[in-house]
Amino acid sequence: MVKATATKAIEPAKEFFTEAGEMMILTGRTVMSAVKPPYPYGNEFIGQFLFALQLCWFPMLVSCVAFGFGAPGLQAANFLSLFGALDRLGGFFVLASIREFAPFVTAVVVAGVAGTAITADLGARKIREELDALQVLGVDPIKNLVVPRFLALMLITGMLDIYALLFGIAGGIGAELLYAQPLGGFFATLFSNASTTELAASVLKCTLFGAIIAIVCCYKGMTATGGAAGVGRAVNEAVVTALLGVFIFNYLFTQTMLATNPDLQTIK
């Protein structure tokens, strides 16, 4: 009885750590495979990059403008208007958009749109035994399928971060205009608070989000079992796990960045 209860309690934790360990191993093998010759994944990399770009650009545009206008834009403007300090909205956008919201929105859109497509694609191939067939034909699925998706998603998330920053700030400008404010103060506080360190950290963080999403989504796709229903389950698990991983990593990264660069915490 006690043993059975203990087993039931331990089993999910064991499964979690096993999966986390296997994803770590997949990460290591992917990085090794990416740098070790030969490099047969060029065409697949370009294909995956364009595929992700095609899927993500419009959802990103809508999400970033709406999110920038709504959350940090209108909400913060409403608060700042109490103090007659609407010009500080630009400075707030450095904290809000560059540091958090742009990478956050990018990760959510990429995981939800491109990541799920990757899991569904690899999951269907796994179910149809295509991945086994590839291996039997002497082709390494990590080098030929995971590496190009890993690199493409890293590149696309890094680039889309800039895209998210621009459209997020556009949403902020919209909020500022709604409050009939001149934009000079907005841009003045934006540029006085912004720094290259902040921007570089945002892009780096977002690039690493892409790596997390790619590994989780590839792993879930390549380990899908149970037919079509299994692929659906894998897609669901992939997006949840990828976003959990992204949020945890975001906390660790941002805290480390602020701890090592205390000047970034000074509001100018």
Partner: protein, 353 residues
């Protein structure tokens, strides 16, 4: 020292001793360690008859539990599909007998154990598949036939035991060596496993483009020949989802053969095919084998296919080989299970459950 510790020390000491050493013989006489008894008996059987494989045949433990070769207890540590947890003698029909087939073994499976969760699919499997013959592994559904194929090509690794292909231990190979070794294989999956994003021509050309320096003209002549052989000469540019199940299988067969592999494996090539197409596919397998030779292994539970193409048959049940040998001898076997299975008899050890 506690009783438990003494027992463990005794066990360790005995396990380190050679299997035919006086210490072990004495232990056997005293009936101290059931696992050692099993090993010694199996070794004696192997010595007694050359035609008997070195398979370790487990015996029921005196306690009434079935203990596997690795000490795991049936019902407590693992379950076997189709075996009740309280069954203390699930292998009473498994002689493990391997009749002489007149050739060397291209593939050897040595004491392979594979367990998924608590379910043990292969439980001390021993099998040798002869070179230059068409071998057939027959057995009821769910006995581990497809799992066996995946071990041979290194898609699964055994928990215990070894898989030796042309003298190379598959579990010991590095990833690079494994991918290199797989070029010796052709494998026809149950549903063909064609790449959905490529047409039939590109599917068949894929191994040639990946692993050879042949020009497109040469590739085209090889692919066209192989597709014509399997009756798909007019379907070059069809996508896999435009083909019937039988056509996908034939396209998969063409792709499996395109590199002229030394070892070709077929995972249920007859499933989902009508009798005529099954017969035609069997003829094709025989023709290609007669032309290029090599070790062919067919997994099926279709007796018609077995009669038509097999040179060598191994009967797999409960994760172990019941018996193996040349086709004619196996069809005449007096083993109760082999007889029931190969005659499709409703009376015998195999029941619906």
């Amino acid at each position: 020292m506690s009783d438990t510790e003494e027992t463990q020390d005794d066990k360790d000491g005995a396990m380190e001793a050679p299997i035919n050493s006086p210490e072990v013989e004495a232990a056997v006489e005293e009936n101290v360690e059931p696992e050692i008894v099993e090993e010694v008996e199996a070794a004696d059987e192997a010595d007694a008859a050359d035609s008997v494989d070195a398979a370790v045949v487990n015996e029921p433990a005196p306690s009434g539990e079935f203990v596997a070769t690795d000490g795991a207890v049936l019902g407590r540590d693992f379950v076997l599909p189709g075996v009740a947890p309280g069954d203390n003698d699930p292998y009473k029909w498994h002689t493990g007998r391997k009749r002489e087939h007149g050739s060397t073994d291209a593939i050897e499976i040595v004491d392979v154990v594979k367990q998924f969760g608590r379910t043990r699919i292969l439980n001390g499997l021993n099998l040798g598949l002869p070179d230059d013959q068409i071998s057939m592994v027959l057995g009821p559904s769910g006995t581990g036939k497809s799992v066996l194929i995946k071990h041979i090509v290194g898609l699964l690794y055994p928990d215990q035991g070894d898989v030796i292909v042309k003298g190379q231990s598959v579990p010991d190979l590095s990833d690079d060596d494994l991918f290199e070794m797989r070029k010796k294989f052709g494998l026809l999956f149950q549903d063909g496993a064609l790449f959905g994003s490529m047409n039939i021509y590109d599917n068949v050309a894929f191994p040639l483009r990946q692993h050879t320096d042949k020009g497109e003209d040469e590739i085209e002549s090889i692919v066209t020949r192989r597709l014509r052989e399997v009756g798909l000469g007019e379907s070059h540019y069809k996508m896999p989802n435009e083909l019937s199940g039988g056509m996908r299988k034939r396209a998969g067969f063409a792709r499996a053969l395109v590199l002229d592999p030394e070892i070709v494996m077929f995972d249920e090539p007859d499933s989902g095919l009508d009798p005529v197409r099954t017969a035609l596919l069997c003829e094709l397998i025989k023709e290609v084998h007669a032309e290029s030779g090599g070790c062919y292994m067919v997994i099926s539970h279709d007796l018609g296919t077995a009669r038509r193409i097999a040179d060598f048959i191994a009967v797999l049940w409960k994760g172990r080989i019941v018996e193996s040998g040349p086709k004619d001898e196996l069809f005449e076997s007096d083993n109760e299970f082999v007889h029931q299975f190969l005659q499709a008899d409703v009376h015998g050890p195999l029941a619906m459950d």
